[in-house]
Symmetry: C2
Subunit: 461 residues, 2 copies
């Protein structure tokens, strides 16, 4: 098909939307390592996981053989409210860069939660509702996940209790109000509502909270309140499964026009967006059908892939969750307060960690002032105000396009634009005022985190 015919935005018809999620684990020769019970160091059983997560999600978490898992009709109907999301041909960016490269991005910010997180939130809320549960609990830091979950629960009539890191609760009142609009209760963490919260408040009366503490409170409430379960917005296998909708739609849209990407780029915090975007393409690579270059982009201030260890570690700072084998900076690692936006997670999806370890994927890290420069340049020509997280992918996509300009190659680049930056304007303000700096941890900084990774036979790193 002629190049001229590719529109600015490719929208699939609703009838072309995927009927199944794709489970990339089914095509992996080396499966991601199982979660371990931190007490016994044995793989977590379905029964153990069922205390925390609802039953269908436990099944999805453990299933590494079924390639396609049907998306229930009710979830597909909800998806139709904001999906298919557009696959955009970045004609304006290409022209600005004067590059022969062809740039595409899958834009997931076209919904009120402002990010791709909604794709998994509705699935997790749906299965909880199906099981007859009354509600779910979760934590939120920057607020994208909490907002998405609130929307999903509001739609299904499910209670939603969000523990929001206290400093975010105070600094991001707008995020809090969006969640309240959707009927969620939002509690600043640490709170006096939980054992662990009271303990932390007693020990550190002035604390502004941390994600690790908020996770611990959410898990405590979920496991001690009848009819409640805990839900999580990234890292887990089930989340990557749900997020495969991003890659499946992107691939279907490209296939319609006979376009095959050479390079696929995504930002990586816990891995939910990157994993979702690359899944169906990675499946082809794993099955030996087609080769692609995959690039994970992480902040230089929280470089799990590029400077972390591949080891079993705690998923949370509070060390109450199971151990996962992943690229990790240590559950005690906290990125500099200077670091804007999300992508602050110390670890990484086990699926992506295994794929990276096995050489199927590259990773690179970028510094935040360069990221905001790319974000602003992108906004001016493409008209979307990108989230700082998403802008990591923009930065590397622009770099790759500029390399094409040097070499004269007309490569096709696809990247994931995970969300919008409406709630991140404090960071943009810092950037405009020249107050933004970079902060790269020293080897000594990283060593402190590594020292906290548990050591046991088989966990050498």
């Amino acid at each position: 098909m002629s190049e001229q015919k590719i529109p600015y935005k490719i929208y699939l018809d609703e009838s072309e939307m995927p009927l199944n999620w794709y489970n990339v684990r089914a095509d992996m020769k080396n499966k991601p390592a199982p979660l371990l019970n931190p007490g016994t160091l044995q793989p977590m059983t379905a029964q153990e996981l069922g205390v925390v997560f609802c039953d269908e999600l436990v099944k999805q978490e453990l299933d590494d053989t079924t390639p396609y898992i049907p998306i229930p009709t009710e979830i597909r109907d909800f998806y139709k409210m904001y999906r298919p999301s557009p696959l955009v041909r970045a004609y304006c960016l290409e022209e600005k860069l004067q590059t022969p490269a062809k740039i595409y991005y899958k834009f997931e910010g076209n919904n009120t939660s402002g990010s791709h997180k909604l794709n998994s939130a509705i699935a997790q809320a749906y299965y909880a509702k199906q099981q007859g549960l009354k509600g779910v609990t979760t934590e939120t830091g920057a607020g994208q996940w909490g907002t998405a979950l609130s929307m999903a629960c509001g739609y299904l009539g499910l209670d939603c209790k969000v523990f929001m890191v206290k400093c975010s609760y105070e600094q991001k009142p707008f995020r809090r109000e969006v969640m309240r609009t959707y009927g969620a209760s939002v509690t600043p963490s640490p709170s006096a509502e939980t054992e662990v919260g009271r303990k932390i408040l007693a020990e550190h009366p002035g604390t502004t909270g941390s994600l690790g503490c908020a996770i611990s409170e959410a898990v405590e409430v979920a496991t001690s309140t009848p009819g409640y379960r805990y839900v999580l917005g990234s890292v887990l296998n089930q989340v990557l499964l749900h997020q495969s909708i991003i890659g499946l739609e992107a691939k279907a849209a490209l296939d319609k026009y006979g376009v095959v990407p050479d390079i696929i780029i995504g930002c990586a915090g816990g891995g939910s967006n990157l994993g979702g975007l690359i899944s169906p393409f990675m499946g082809e690579k794993l099955r030996g059908e087609r080769d692609y270059r995959f690039i994970a982009v992480e902040p230089a201030s929280c470089p799990s892939f590029t400077r972390g260890k591949f080891a079993y570690d705690f998923c949370d700072t509070g060390m109450v969750c199971p151990l996962a084998k992943m690229y990790t900076l240590g559950s005690g690692f906290i990125p500099s307060a200077n670091h804007a936006g999300g992508l602050r997670y110390h670890g990484m999806s086990s699926v992506l960690s295994q794929l990276y370890h096995d050489g199927y994927m590259e990773a690179t890290s970028v510094e935040q002032t360069a990221v905001f420069q790319a974000a602003e340049a992108f906004a001016r020509v493409e008209g979307i105000l990108p989230a700082p997280e998403s802008s990591h992918a923009i930065k590397v996509a622009m770099d790759e396009a500029l390399k094409c300009k040097e070499t004269g190659e007309a490569k096709t680049i696809l990247f994931g634009l995970t969300g919008t930056g409406y709630f991140d304007l404090t960071a943009y303000e810092k950037f405009h005022n020249g107050e933004m700096t970079d902060s790269i941890p020293t080897d000594a900084d990283l060593q402190v985190g590594f020292d906290g990774i548990p050591r046991f036979p088989g966990n050498e790193f």
Copy 2:
């Protein structure tokens, strides 16, 4: 075509996008009254208008005979970055209301500026650039227009100077930062940069500004700086012309599925969205081809149509702009500070005023607590956080759908969802906390405004 086949969202293909704007004035028997020079009380000439507005826009402002005006290719290319906007079938809202009515809305919030204002901003910036101008000036209150203009100017490389009402500048720092991201300079008004600003600051040192003052400053800078012109986001005929893209796309999308709306509803501040949405449908009604019910919805706290006078009045509080014949509360009228969001303009588009006066359109007013109730209910089922302005239309669309439930009629309702509420969460917070009240001006309050409307022969009201 069968009812079943209508998708949740109807997207036109890019090839189906309108090539022309539609100028409803061409089909009006009673043309809207011309702008008058406040000094001479004679119709403003093209030459007089050319001091303030760029030449092509003056032509569009005065043209009340050409029905279709071609959209330049460059503007159509920009439109493709965020248009066609979706026409949504509100299946979830219908189900929640248990109504036989079929509800559609045209959603204009899917761009970074967050509203329909971008449709005219790019047109006005484009013609300024074409004329070889260096830049444009404008004012902004709530910030939607300033944001849209910044995006358009950033894209075209045109200087953009925004005077932002000082209290908004301070209370909405995020709006300011979006504008700066797009390269605009944003000045709190009143400022020391203009004659009129310095005068007001000397007389009222503690003032937090007003839209009228910001207009006066923007006009002063535009008319006293070589290479600059002033641009305005609503009220003017040219703005309604550009906004006809909303109605043209909506009609094309409905036509594809053989759907004919019975009732068309839009919120009305200065009239840009309402005028744009109804234009092509109104054209059919004016030409006697088909009948529709049109409903303008305004806030009870700023009721230009429902309680105003049809008279010549100043377009701005500073009384520096021409006189327009319109439904007006008097240029000195200021809605209660308690009123949230936009739709605070004292007057109304001359085109819509004439159509309303001639009985082609209805108008109704609604109170803000009821509007926020509707907004929240809508958000929970349709997944979009609506702007307070847009929510006026939601409220009346829901009311009409509930009337259908009573009568059993399956009417088709179309309304305009002009934008998103990401920057209005302070108002949502007030609503959640039960601190929001209504404020309806008394007859005596209104009389103060009416007393300021200029009296001269032929301006009886």
